[in-house]
Amino acid sequence: MSARIPRSACACQDFNRAEFLRRAAAQAGEGLPSIERGMPTPAGTGLSRRGFLLASAGLALSVYGAGRVLDPSVFEEGIARAAASPQAPVLVSVYLQGGIDSMSVLYPAGDPLYTKYRPVLALPEAAGPALTEDPRLHWHPLAAPLATLHGEGKVSVIPAVGYTGADQSHFTSRHFWEVGATQADLLTGWMGRYLDLAGAADNPLQGLCLDESLQPSLATARMPVAAIASPASYSFYARDVWGPPQDVMYQYFEALGRIGTGSGDTAMAASGEAALMSNTLRRQLAPFQPASEAAAPALPPGYPSSADKFPARMAGIAQLLAAGLPLHCVSVSTESVFDTHDNQVAALNSGLDQVAQTLYAFQRDLESRGLADRVLTLVWSEFGRRPEENASGGTDHGAAGCAFVIGARARGTMIGEWPGLATGLDALENVQATADFRSVYCSLLEQWLGHEAAPIIPGASGFPRVTLVK
């Protein structure tokens, strides 16, 4: 059912296989089969998943965790009520898949060890603008849009974020970031646990994931949350049929409809009439369906045109907010895969270019719609990569990576510091974290979402708070 499964030529086998299986399993709310010994079960595994058409907005949602709710009109009312209340702040989480090479996003141009570790991949000192807060680091030239926002005080840079004891596993590290703890057995996401405490039982848009399936960081125990692949979906779904037999099936809606309208019986004619009208609507909406190759509606200016859905999804967040929908926590993942084990330059460049332009366009979009004061965006990846390049023109899984908090109300000052290559590497020669990701989460919960972190992040009192919001 999903149009494209991210599969990167340069990513490791485990990553590709996991993404393929995640898409297939997600339809049934099942977790990933075991791909790696000891891998954690993704948060949200086993949550019930129900389709729901939000009539007021024409949105087709998958609602997770509806629990005891038997009547979906509860959600129509809940969403309307939440939309009429004072608008809550919005936290957007953008996940860069695969462990982006933070040492290329912000490269230690002036460090003599940089070219020693990366004879092939090292960027020239003058290629990108220096980071004003620490001129040892330069922005990758394609990250220039982020540098511009940083210059406006809208980006808090976290140059070395992670946790101690990383094992370089995609599944484990991603899981820890999603559940907000270094615990393999947690099945709720960090934002999910926040929503369980502060959310409403009847507003599934409070935790919204713009993807075919739920991002584990939004997985709740009690409150409903939702995923939406793209707005305005009018999809007929028969299981276990695809390709030409499916296409022909749609053609027979018309045939069945005419049998009804021609039957001479009032009730059968009503059924036939409904079939014909539904088929007409299906054909009219087909160009706008997510799986279609036909032209998608145009994006607002500034967003890069792209074969993948990331820019459209970010633009979609701005649109949904502008329409007054009561979003609170939102999650998007890139389709670009940054697991650049080989031939890094091409994959990283095209992915980073798209991400930087999209994040910049999103910020401008919010500003032009008067929404900038309400939205904060956290950009993260499951780990950074090794300082030392490998023999295939790429880099392998590392430890600390970079993260960003972006928005008009972001404090705009650096969190933690770049530890340097001379003394800042651990026993495995990976970058040591100078900020723990849980400090970032605790600080966001308290400063932006206005909720105590202790009941949400295990061990919250042990993580220093950092100022992220102005």
């Binding site: 058409l53 779904y237 276990d240 009730a267």
Partner: protein
């Protein structure tokens, strides 16, 4: 039962009636309360009519409820009842008439008009036979077509009315 129970014009089945009939036809009965939700999407929230007048029998079908009604089959066919192309083996017919019969038998052999039966067979011929050119297609399309036929049977005006 008194014969007059079955007399009178046909009516569009209320959502609960359609769902109950489908579940009974495949022998699944009630193993989840999801059907209350699904029924709401099809236009009837159990025990919660729009007003004291109850539900209006003539107003069950619009483009939204017809979509939800069509999608019921996918909810109802659980993994053990599904037709998997790779595992189909000898359980799936290739002959279009036999395929249509298999789809009808799945739902407990509901009565359908000759016109509808003819349409189901025509679908099976187009989808499972004419469209299948390569060897792998000839092997798999009958199973895919059977899955589609199951959905088409319960979407037919015959099945949606009684």
């Amino acid at each position: 039962m008194h014969p007059l129970i079955h007399a009178g014009p046909r009516m569009v089945k209320a959502p609960i009636v359609q769902i109950a009939g489908m579940l009974r036809g495949i022998g699944r009965y009630i193993d989840t309360d999801d059907w209350a939700w699904e029924s709401s999407l099809v236009g009837q929230t159990p025990f919660y009519p729009p007003n004291v007048g109850g539900w209006e029998a003539a107003r069950w079908l619009n483009t939204g409820t017809w979509l939800a009604r069509f999608n019921l089959a996918a909810q109802m066919i659980d993994d053990k009842r599904a037709v998997k192309p790779h595992a189909a083996g000898k359980k799936v017919a290739v002959n279009p008439r036999a395929l249509a019969n298999q789809a009808l038998a799945f739902w407990g052999d509901p009565t359908v008009s000759p016109a509808t039966r003819h349409a189901l067979i025509a679908y099976a011929k187009t989808a499972a036979v004419d469209a299948a050119k390569a060897p792998w297609e000839r092997e798999q399309y009958p199973a895919l077509a059977l899955s589609a036929l199951r959905a088409l049977v319960v979407a037919s005006p015959d099945y949606q009315t009684c």
